[in-house]
């Protein structure tokens, strides 16, 4: 028997939409041979989250699927080898590298390129676009030395590029927009104004109604010249003035293209040649180019369906969108601009918080037609669903943006009231019915499970909160009692376990598991119980080191490659020249990369696990102790120099910081704790960004709590004013102990306070007014923890049995891990990249 060769589908373009097409086709059938040509050297990556490349994500994190995926699915992939010609007569494509590939069907997913306006000087060095990872790398390189950067274009991508420059630390970032306002295509004038105010407060300088007439400079940009005669000196420019569909291949092949670009397609996504399809940003459908990923995915689904005898058609797409621009929510949905007499608008504006909301309702008040949300877009999903499903509005539609005031309606109920066909995840086309069905029929109870089950929430991720609400709402409706539990081994919350272990005097993980758990535990409950036990008894964690995360097990911070970093405690950042010399000598002896940390300490990187006890021993002999940089515990109390030296200082902030740091050092908490003490209101110690911060006043000290840097910065809130030191310490004891006892695992103080019913007012009542009558107990519990403090490093150094465990090879203790490799950098060493 002769096997018929499979018909061949050639995909030109390995971007998000090209990749999604392969995934969707493979999900339907294995009856095609897939061949993919990509121009970029990388496999398809997530362009929507490109800006996270600056936020520390690596190129690999952004990949939609690893190279192995293409291999496993027998896709022939040609990267860095773009197709240069389509020979429609012979049904072949020709690549730059000389490959000739026949096709039965051809899918053009060539995407778009950045539109670069024809401004004189646009070719100068320092002028870039924002499109690919390569573009980003160029921007990164320039940003390192640039003093002033500008972005041309105040649309969605332009503002994203501006954020990138901010993130890269360009000291001055300007946004130049031709239109009289920002994001003119998505939001209305009042919304633009609010957005502008918020962005300016974040440090962006915004110039509107500016026509750029030329770019100045010899070979490298040095200024922008505008039509009104003004100029702006800059040393880099990122152009983000829109997109241009990549239709040149189609044009060459004689396919029909639009007047202003784009490959013309019908509702089946067919081009003028029925064997050739076009999808994504290169396709022109109904006179529209769709510059978002969700419609592109929908087009991919249409073609996959067409190739498998399906009947899906593309009938246009809702361009509603919600995003976070530089930390500011911006959303528009339905028709954001529709006005009298076709609609009436309800507008809410809060200039204080920087919130603007507008909804447009039908003249009869029955239906929602569209709207704009700036500063707070939490209601976006629900509003979008209300528009798309033509849900009849309640008698007071203003509740939709103001929240029910005095009523009992909750958001969860709102989500559940949606019809089954409501599209919840528009990237993967998952309906409310499918999500609720997965809960009732398949027993799915988590967002992770839902992602695996039907991919809901795996695209842009915007619907994840709604998916979570739907899962919880459906479970509740089924009568399930939803409990906040630690993991599959413990059916209790952290707070419940804290009380249970205390009352039953449980002191080991095994005993906790025997009494209150099942199975053998896992990487979630082990460190969580470890934290509870420490919060109760403050026993040495080295006694139960296999339940600790690796940092707590080895009392150092694991780094790339598997070496560790060592941070001795330098309370409040005060260090003698002699101590500095000891640190220097230790670093030199063990070949450690040395860096000052953000918390006024010194971090020594690149220590082999077997060197750790020796390093600690030398540090301890010079009077140092563990800095607990590895623990979910107090890290550092940062201080300014205060009244001892500073002419502005009101009190001695250094002495207080040292006292506070030594008081709470080593105490385990649900997550790490950072603190700061400033000697005056100038706040050089940044105390208001800390879990607890103290600022000197004329009359005493102000205590701020629950601040956070990190991914979601939040200022600390004022708990007590003008208190003396004794009162301050008492409040701190109570506050910290209350947090240690009641927070969930790995919950920072800021999130804890956000979730605490009653918020700051409640916390004040508990800590200051003793409304729960537990303050004496909290103080006694804290006193026990403080009394039981031991330096864990010293324990290992002095205990031969423990010390023996610090080897890489248990059967070759003197041998170091040969897989750890370093390379030189600026006179020190760093670990090789992974």
């Amino acid at each position: 028997m002769v096997l018929q060769p499979l018909p061949t589908v050639v995909v030109i373009g390995n971007g998000m939409v090209g990749y999604k097409f392969c995934e969707k086709l493979l999900a339907k059938t294995q009856a095609f041979k897939l061949v993919v040509f990509g121009e970029e050297p990388r496999v398809a990556y997530d362009r929507v989250h490109l800006c996270e490349y600056f936020g520390g994500k690596t190129a690999d994190d952004l990949l939609l699927a690893p190279l192995q995926w293409y291999h496993d699915n027998t896709i022939t992939l040609h990267l860095g080898d773009p197709v240069q010609e389509i020979d429609r007569a012979n049904r072949t494509v020709h690549s730059r590298g000389g490959l000739v590939q026949p096709y039965d069907y051809l899918v053009l997913a060539t995407g778009s390129s950045a539109f670069v306006p024809d401004i004189p000087g646009v070719e100068k060095a320092g002028v870039m676009v924002y499109r690919t990872i390569e573009d980003l790398e160029e921007i990164k390189a320039y940003a390192a030395t640039a003093k002033r950067g500008a972005v041309l274009g105040g649309g969605l991508l332009g503002l994203e590029a501006a954020k990138a420059l901010l993130d890269l630390g360009v000291p001055e970032t300007h946004v130049i927009e031709f239109a009289p306002r920002l994001m003119p295509r998505q939001i209305d004038a009042a919304g633009s104004q609010m957005l502008q105010t918020k962005l300016e407060a974040l440090g962006l300088q915004i110039h509107l109604s500016k026509a750029t007439s030329s770019i100045g400079g010899e070979d490298t940009i040095d200024a922008l010249h505008f039509g009104d005669g003004s100029r702006l000196e800059v040393d880099m420019l990122v152009i983000s003035a829109g997109i241009r569909p990549r239709d040149e291949l189609a044009r060459l092949a004689g396919l029909e293209v639009g007047l202003r670009g784009g490959i013309v397609v019908n509702d089946e996504m067919q081009t003028s040649d029925p064997r050739i399809f076009a999808i994504g940003e290169c396709a022109l459908h109904g006179g529209m180019i769709y510059g978002l990923v969700a419609p592109g995915y929908d087009m991919a689904e249409v073609v996959a369906s067409q190739l498998t005898q399906g009947a899906r058609a593309f009938t246009g797409y809702d361009m509603s969108s919600k995003l976070k621009l530089i930390g500011v929510d911006v959303a528009s949905f339905g028709d954001p601009f529709i006005a009298e007499p076709h609609s009436r608008s309800i507008v809410f504006e809060d200039a204080h918080r920087g919130v603007y909301k507008r909804i447009n309702i039908s003249p009869d008040g029955k239906y929602l037609l569209g709207g704009v949300l700036i500063g707070d877009a939490e209601a976006y999903n629900l509003l979008l669903q209300t528009v798309n499903n033509k849900i009849v509005l309640p008698p007071h539609p203003e509740d939709l943006i103001l929240g029910a005031r005095g009523g009992e309606a909750t958001e969860g109920a709102g989500v559940l009231s949606l019809p089954d066909e409501a599209l919840v995840c528009s990237c993967e086309a998952v309906t409310k019915g499918a999500i609720c069905g997965a809960v009732t029929e398949l027993g799915i109870t988590t967002v992770e499970g839902m992602k695996k089950c039907n991919k809901a929430g795996t695209g842009c991720g915007g619907c994840v909160p709604m998916v979570k609400d739907l899962i919880q709402g459906t479970l509740l409706a089924q009568g399930a009692y939803i409990k906040n539990v630690l993991c599959e081994h413990f059916e209790y919350s952290r707070q419940e376990l804290f009380d249970l272990l205390k009352i039953n005097d449980i002191r080991t993980y095994d005993a906790a598991l025997d009494h209150f758990g099942r199975g053998d535990g896992c990487e979630t409950c082990k460190p969580a119980i470890g934290s509870i036990l420490s919060g109760l008894w403050n026993d040495l964690i080295v006694k139960q080191n296999t339940i600790q995360d690796t940092n707590d097990r080895y009392l150092a911070n694991i780094q790339k490659g598997g070496s560790y970093s060592v941070v001795p405690r330098i309370a409040a950042g005060e260090v003698t020249p002699e101590q500095l010399m000891v640190i220097g000598r230790v670093a030199q002896k063990y070949g450690l990369y040395t860096k000052i940390t953000g918390g006024q300490r010194i971090d020594l990187f690149g220590a082999h696990v077997s060197d750790l006890p020796d390093i600690w021993e030398e540090l301890i002999n010079a009077g140092f102790e563990s800095g607990h940089a590895y623990g979910k515990s107090l890290r550092t109390v940062k201080s300014c120099v205060g009244s001892t030296w500073c002419r502005f200082g009101l009190h001695d902030s250094v002495s207080l910081a040292i006292e506070i740091e030594n008081r709470y050092k080593g105490i385990r908490s649900p997550h790490k704790l950072k603190s700061g003490v400033s000697g005056c209101v100038r706040e050089c110690a940044e105390a208001q960004a800390k879990d607890f911060g103290i600022i000197a006043t004329e009359k005493g000290w102000n205590l701020y709590v629950c601040g956070n840097g990190g991914a979601k910065p939040q200022h600390a809130q004022l708990l007590a004013t003008d208190v003396d030191k004794e009162t301050l310490v008492r409040y701190l004891d109570r506050f910290l102990m209350f947090y240690i006892k009641t927070a969930d695992p790995l919950m920072r103080t800021a999130t804890w306070l956000n979730k605490l019913e009653g918020g700051l007012a409640y916390l004040k009542n508990v800590v200051i007014n003793d409304s729960l009558g537990i303050c004496a107990e909290l103080e006694a519990e804290m006193a026990l923890l403080i009394q039981n403090y031991h330096c864990e490093w010293r324990e290992v150094v002095e205990n031969p049995e423990l010390r023996r465990q610090f080897t890489h090879f248990v059967n070759a203790p003197t041998l170091k891990d040969p897989s750890i490799e370093f390379e030189p950098v600026r006179g020190q060493k760093i670990v090789k990249a992974w």
Binding site: Q68, G519, D520, P527, T550, I558, Q805, V810, D817, I820
Partner: protein, 116 residues
């Protein structure tokens, strides 16, 4: 029933060298092998020490435990918490990477790894 496996048993270390309900890394025939002493169940497991996610020699320092109704034994890589079955070596986070497992036995207080 005992599966007949054609392996050479290599003596590696003393059983007391591996912490209870934890792991340690041993050098076996030039390879890094992670050995786990599942004391709670009186079981021993061995796998490659390399976590395939980011190519780090780290699994021996991971926390062990179990999952599911059948209490499948597993280890979590300390770097990014990818978990792997100690029985099959499969990744339990839905990712298509797996690790090599090795037969292991303890006789007279000595840990042996079955080397194919």
């Amino acid at each position: 029933m005992e599966a007949v496996i054609d392996v050479t048993w290599v003596a590696v270390c003393r059983a007391t060298d591996i912490p209870a309900d934890g792991g340690a890394c041993a050098l076996v025939e030039g390879e890094q092998v992670a050995i786990f002493n599942f004391a709670r169940r009186g079981e021993w497991y061995a796998t490659q020490n390399l976590c395939p996610h980011k190519q780090q020699m780290a699994l021996a320092r991971g926390m062990i435990g179990s999952t599911g109704e059948a209490c499948e034994p597993k280890v979590a890589c300390p770097f990014h918490k990818r978990t792997f079955s100690l029985l099959t070596g499969e990744c339990l986070n839905g990712e298509e990477c797996s690790i090599q497992t090795y037969p292991v036995k303890v006789e007279d207080g000595v840990v042996y790894i079955g080397w194919a």
